[in-house]
């Protein structure tokens, strides 16, 4: 598949995705027959109450977890065919993760934190630091290259995490409750940053349960009991009819 064909198509294509966990009482379904397409450059908010399966879905999208059955095509690759090392490469190059708890390495400087994905991409130190510095500047933290994560505020830590997610120039950013630990003003700043990134052409998928955060996205998808019950792109009636039929 060529670069132009990719850009025209979908970065994420999910068909008939099913996921269950084994419990003592037998298999417990978490995701049931999920279909979803996300185009390059899309900005999607995934919503739903806890237990609806949205986090499991995010983990599968992020290649951290594998579906029990169904197809997941990411950036043109059938993820089921990839081995552990190839999946690690996908996480390294195609996806940038932003977590609720920031998840920075507490013993490393901001510059080292941001350049960490480049270590696993096998890039030498000078270029790592140069690229990390550019991104820290982009998120407004050029004064803090050598600070430690515990010396800056939560909002600033999340900016560092976003810089880290961007450093390997991914097509897709997966953000799991990125504003969950932040106050409303800081949340707005972070969402503004996501908006900018999306304008630059990066696909963003974020999980949130706050409707006003989801408003920033151009498309909202709602999960309930392991199914997609609402997709702003497809219209309400269509999906509710499907859900009713099933």
């Amino acid at each position: 598949m060529t670069e132009s064909q990719k850009k025209a198509g979908n970065v994420i294509r999910v068909r008939g995705l099913h996921k269950h966990y084994m419990t003592a009482a037998g298999p417990f379904p978490v995701l049931k027959e999920v279909d979803l397409d996300i185009a390059y450059g899309d900005y999607v908010a995934i919503m739903g109450p806890s237990g609806s399966g949205k986090s499991t879905f995010m983990n599968i999208l992020g290649c951290l977890d594998k579906p029990s059955s169904g197809e997941y095509t990411l950036d043109g690759y059938q993820t089921a065919e990839l081995d552990g090392d190839a999946l690690a490469r996908v996480r390294n190059k195609t996806i940038g993760f932003v977590f609720q708890g920031f998840n920075l390495l507490s013993r490393s400087s901001l510059l080292d934190n941001v350049s960490l994905p480049l270590v696993y991409a096998g890039i030498d130190k000078a270029e790592r630091h140069a690229r990390a510095a550019v991104l820290l500047k982009k998120v407004g933290l050029e004064k803090y290259y050598h600070s430690m994560p515990n010396q800056i505020s939560g909002g600033q830590q999340q900016r560092v995490a976003i810089a880290r997610a961007l450093v390997n120039r991914p097509n897709l950013i997966l953000a799991d409750e990125p504003t969950g630990n932040l106050d409303s003003v800081t949340s707005e700043e972070i969402m503004a940053l996501f908006g900018e990134l999306n304008k630059e052409g990066i696909t963003i998928v974020l999980v949130t349960h706050e409707p006003d955060i989801a408003e920033h996205a151009s498309r909202q998808v709602r999960f309930l009991d392991g199914r997609i019950v609402q997709d702003s792109q497809r219209g309400f009636g269509e999906l509710t009819a499907e859900a009713g039929a099933a």
Binding site: N59, G62, L64, D65, G84, D85, A88, R89, R91, N92, K93, F97, F99, N103, L104, L105, R107, S108, L116, P117, V119, Y120, A121, G122, K125, R164, N168
Partner: protein, 407 residues
Amino acid sequence: MFGAMLGEAWHAMGANRLRTFLTMLGMVIGVGAVVLMMAIGQGAQESVKQSINSMGSNLFIVLSGSTTSGGARIGTGNAPSLKVGDATAIGELEGISAVAPVTMGTAQIVFGSNNWNTSILGTMPSYLDVRSWNLADGYMFSDSDIRSATRVAIIGKTVAQNIFGDEIDPIGKTIRIKQTPFTVVGLLEGKGQSLDGRDQDDTIIVPLTTAQRKLFGGQFPGSVRMIMVQAETAEIMPAVESDINNLLRQRHNIREGNDNDFSVRNLTSLANSAAETTRTMALLLGAIASVSLLVGGIGIMNIMLVSVTERTREIGIRMAIGARERDILMQFLLEAIVISFFGCLIGLILGIGGAVLVGMLTQATILISGNSILLAFSVAAAVGIFFGFYPARKAAQLNPIEALRYQ
């Protein structure tokens, strides 16, 4: 990438200094103990080896044996069964490089106002060849001295020091042995202790005939106490031994079924068994010390397991941003190796220091060989890899989702 990982291992070690130090301590003690014990063990081996070399190589000693006369048995070396002619006959056997008949006793010797009691050996010039002994000064007496029984003496280093001191050159001086004046013509090189701890330099060598006629003359003229025989190679020693036995039985007219009136001893095999004993001791010391190395390794594994548990979340983050299993494995393995490497380095320094100290305090021979250092190092590296592998693999096989959720 390797450089970055090494840097991170260094970082992780620095993050918990006391713990890193304690982990290292197991390694330090283990390597230190191995180096010290091997230095002591190899030192003992070395000193035995020196004693063996000083004794002479491929050596037999033929002693006049016990005889029974009228029901009373006479101890080895006291019966007058060996003659100078036996020595000459042995010398004509195949595979013999040197033969020296020896008669001996002790005597008081006097020079000026000094006197000293020492052992006197009456022998032939070939004695020095048999014992691989050289002169430090002067010359060895000759066969003509044997024929004419001249009163000349070769003295050992200890004797020279005791009666001449450091100032006087002994060569050409006249000493009295049992009141008989002897001219000192040679000074022996120092040989040090023998295997049984005797000072080999506390001796005087005189011509065999002189000893027989002028010093220990009497009961059995012409008989010698023992004959020292040197074989050409170690391989032919068993054959030579049976040749000597057959020859002497024939010469002494011993009928089949009767006991020998002499005995042949293989000194080299005795020495070798002594060497074998010290080798076993050295191995034992090394083995005991290795146990502490093992304990040190288990300490590393223990701490690395704790470290993996503590850093579960960090591992999850690394996996999420693209670390492969083998990257995580390498990271933790490298940490274990760095810890054991530095532990080993410190242990090596302490072990060598300890060995030098023991050497100074006890006068024992201490030998620190490159081999023992290499061994300690490679064992330490192996311990680091072996005991670091399990925790590292455990880290690498963590489930990233669970690791990220870990609090």
